[in-house]
Symmetry: D2
């Protein structure tokens, strides 16, 4: 019963098979292999637009490198205060961008809204004493398991563009958002104003499966230099390309996401049947945040379940009692359904 | 017939099998898995000393992160002018170190010597107008296929330590050096004064198989932060750990290196039988640098051989005629012996 | 009637005279002149402790360079959300520190308190996914005109030291704090736990008169390199040294501050006599923040007064009506008393 | 008898008077004062072109900030190996540019030539493994006292532009070059292909008198942010503006340079009358490099003369005997002619 994260699970068999299949003969290295090229083409197909795509090894690097193409060192990037780029990457965006300021904003129910952005931008009217507003970044699905809809993204884009800011989306769990919304990938990216994205597949079946995808391909100029400088150009690049191809082939990525999202609904539904557990935010993707009694929490851990306590700031000061804890559950395509059911029966026993 | 690089070949079957074997169940992510821990222990065993080892995804990142632990932003790192850190990593060491100066020095027959370091240090006596001499870095085996012997390294260490500089070795082809010298890994690392190394296995059978290994473990303090900030902490870290375990298990790493080195000797010997080809530097590891007539070069490529021309600076201004080219050949554990022989017969036909 | 800032006034005559007096003959350059050395000695005398002091040209550089000695690139610096280092220096601390995260915290009535620091530190328990808590920085007197007392600083120091964090004070208006409290310089610096400070004199009579002063002199090791790298080592350094000597000589710095503080009290007292003006924060140094009707504000500007509107965040969402504005007034040693009185009579006329 | 540097002398009386004159009343701070604006206008007049000019406090900062507008972090800047940006600024260009690589090239008789640049660029054909060639920088007059003529600069510009590189000139001693050549300032800047310059006046009579001047004004976009972030925006900016105005007014800057250059000719001529002294490079501006017997050197120092020994690399390995030293002499507008004559008589006495 491991709900600690989707990355505690391994590689999807089809992706592992693709790694094995690519292990034949020689190929050019450092990104000049055919797999990498085909992966870029496949992403263009998936997004219904000619994109530039660059494979990298971690989501942290994808975010930092993507932002480095959007902001100068004297710029500001606005993001949610629970976004990975704001609080989970140990100054990595600062490193890749050469010291840009990453400003984490408090959202409304786990998401940014146009008024939030407009309000903060009012403080950026003094010229060079402030950093220059350069980019907006949202995570979809968010770190709190919420999903931005096409219209919400368009509205944020309008605000960003009104100040000539670029727009980035962290898609570490992008497949979960697409699956949850039942939209096309284009609908919540370039058609809604996104300029560049971090396209993540590691959490959803890959081994190391991350790409920076440019919809505004002019921004990709010199990105080869950025990736190399970032220590992210791997020599045996075919093994990243082949993962991406297998991930996208036949819609595996969305199939996996649908399974994970479905398990999250199953778990959430079961948890809510217990009157001792509250779920303050809507469950839309593959993550659940729940408040439960400390005693129950301890009992579940003792029974072998794995899940993390979460910082309290999401709920503010008064959302939780002294004898309660706030917890996160993440579901993977590989989470056994039986584990969900066993966990729910433990909850029921209380 | 691909001699372009050792990284045009794939993953060694035993390492691929280890990836498959690790793809079971759940493990903690972000470096807290058991494979990563065991990989560190195994490296301690191999080096006969308790080391701290941190798995990363590229040699470029390993070098940059290792140097970041050795030099402040206002420091200077001395290295060979053909070293990857000097000319092959697109300002990546500058990024990781926060802007330290990487000073590439001309070597003697492809290696640095104590007088070279002493000479340059004489220019660093003016205080803060110069950067602070902080570290010395050598590659072993070198980018020119040479090998530093234990005594040579000790002599360099003495110079470095006399100015309180730290000592790094780039071991992108470390196994080839150990195999060539017939020494123990400790003999050309910590016993010779090396403080930290980039331990590379990708070129020698891994998929992404790189580690920063600290012999002076005090320098590893806070390295977890550095790796994370560097975008180099992968979530499914078990798949790096398992590669390292398989690579070291039963001496696979040295077996592979011995094969590659042996093929290099076979190829070099054959080439020298042609009086139209000169090999200006001793062939000690798995790389050969050769001067050949342009006409022969073209004919070999036309016959399907792959190998790179190299910059002329190694030989200086007068080492090569107008109708000659300077070429590099790299041998891998996976290079078919038949390819070597076929290539040599092409050379013989001229 | 210029209350826009204390830096709209010029150089104190005694300091200008010192510049003239130093303009004789030749001196060593780049900080090796006698004036710079004597300035350091004089600061040691003023602080009753042997300090290391480094003259620089701007307060922004002083802050950035000071923090660069306290935090690694993967560190976090905690400061007030109105502090210059947080919001007024266009990513300059990020540049000097190599990308450390500067975290601006909401204070209580314009100051940080131990519970605020303790609360935020609770979020820094996850290891390398967060930056490493490295330093605490307070401004004294604060950007909101408040003054930290010795015991308040000691209490903050206790929290900082409990997490092995260093403690910096931005003293852009340090003289105003010392004068306001009637304490000795040591009482609100090293005796209260401050490790390093930005000692500013530009706003209080200098031309360019800023220094980084180390109380923990071990932290000053290599600071010469930092200053040079920071572009802050001026060649004709005698002209910084002589300013500092004149500024400290005979207590000019405190005399100036007492005048400015006194004028602030005079202005504040007068403003409060108008029932149309509110002053939400205690006036302790040489700055006043006041809420006034927009109509009055416009009338005062039309009459030739200069002062700035201020961001609303200090007062939160409900501190101010639609037809009101929030304004800042800064008093200088050079502000004519007659200007204060004339301004107050304009206010009275309403 | 102080020939150690031109910066061991003080402020020219007219510039000091201008500082005093500006010390009246209040002015806007942080570069929004009228003096700064007029200084920019005056520079446009001097250069016969509308420029953008930004006052800063040191030549090091001017160079670093100027280069930061010309190169990305993944770029390379080519310069002479005796240039300040290459060897005299302790990684400051690396800081301001975010880690660009500054490549110091060996010149011919103290200057760069088109073939030197063309040769090194041949090594930059491999794509992203190298940094991207971004800018060329020359110092005029050079650190070795040479002067680039208009045609020489144009020829270098042609090479730079052929690779889309920007062209910077470090004008720390620009007045000396203009005076030596008898050209107009435009002739050796924008008319010869220079895009941006560091315009230095500190060595030639200023207190802190440095500006970044953009001839390609499109490159100045956002430079206000760069200067602020660089810690180089001073609050009482009028005192920089007034210096620049006085420096340029009535051609003071060129008058001073002519005096210094003339004194250098006088000293060089005298030195050459001694058959014990050699001057290997032409004396064109206000610096002289000379080889003299160690015994003479010691005697001159003992007699109270100040001048520096210089690194030997300029002359290569065989330019100097064991009992000789290589020395630099710098002349200032303020160097007493009597000091030159007294020094020459000491030399004559041997």
């Amino acid at each position: 019963m491991n709900f600690a994260s989707d990355n505690v699970y391994g590689i999807h068999p089809k992706i592992l098979a693709a790694i094995e299949a690519a292990n034949q003969g020689t190929t050019p290295s450092y990104g000049y292999d055919d797999y990498s090229k085909r992966a870029e083409d496949k992403l263009s197909e998936v997004f219904e637009k000619e994109v530039r795509a660059f494979l990298v090894t971690t989501g942290t690097a994808a975010n930092g490198l993507a932002l480095s193409a959007l902001t100068p060192s004297y710029g500001a990037v606005f993001t949610h205060n629970e976004a990975h780029s704001a609080i989970d990457e140990c100054n990595s965006p600062e490193m890749f961008t050469g010291g840009a300021k990453i400003i984490g904003l408090e959202g409304v129910e786990g998401k940014l809204t146009p008024p939030i952005i407009e309000k903060v931008l009012k403080g950026f009217l003094r010229g060079e004493h402030d950093p220059k507003p350069a980019a907006l970044s949202i995570t979809n699905s968010t770190e709190l398991g919420r999903v931005y809809k096409p219209d919400e993204i368009k509205a944020l884009s309008t605000v960003a563009k009104s100040r000539k800011m670029k727009f980035h989306t962290d898609g570490a769990r992008f497949a979960n958002a697409v699956a949850a919304l039942g939209v096309k990938p284009a609908d919540i990216t370039w058609k809604a104003g996104i300029d560049v994205m971090s396209f993540g597949g590691t959490k959803n079946g890959g081994m190391l499966l991350e790409a920076v995808v440019f919809f505004d391909t002019a921004l990709a100029e010199d990105f080869l230099y950025r990736r190399m400088r970032g220590g992210q150009l791997i020599s045996k690049s075919r093994f990243l390309g082949t993962q991406m191809l297998a991930y996208l082939e036949g819609g595996l990525w969305l199939d996996n996401a649908r399974i994970a999202n479905g398990l999250a609904q199953r778990l959430a539904k079961g948890l809510l049947q217990s009157n001792r557990i509250r779920i303050p935010l809507p469950v839309e993707a593959n993550e659940i945040f729940a408040v439960m009694p400390l005693a129950l929490h301890d009992k579940l851990l003792a029974a072998g379940a794995h899940f993390h306590q979460w910082g309290l700031d999401i709920l503010g000061r008064d959302g939780i009692a002294e004898d309660e804890v706030f917890c996160r559950f993440v579901l993977s395509f590989a989470t056994p359904e039986a584990d969900v059911d066993r966990f729910l029966s433990l909850v029921k026993q209380g």
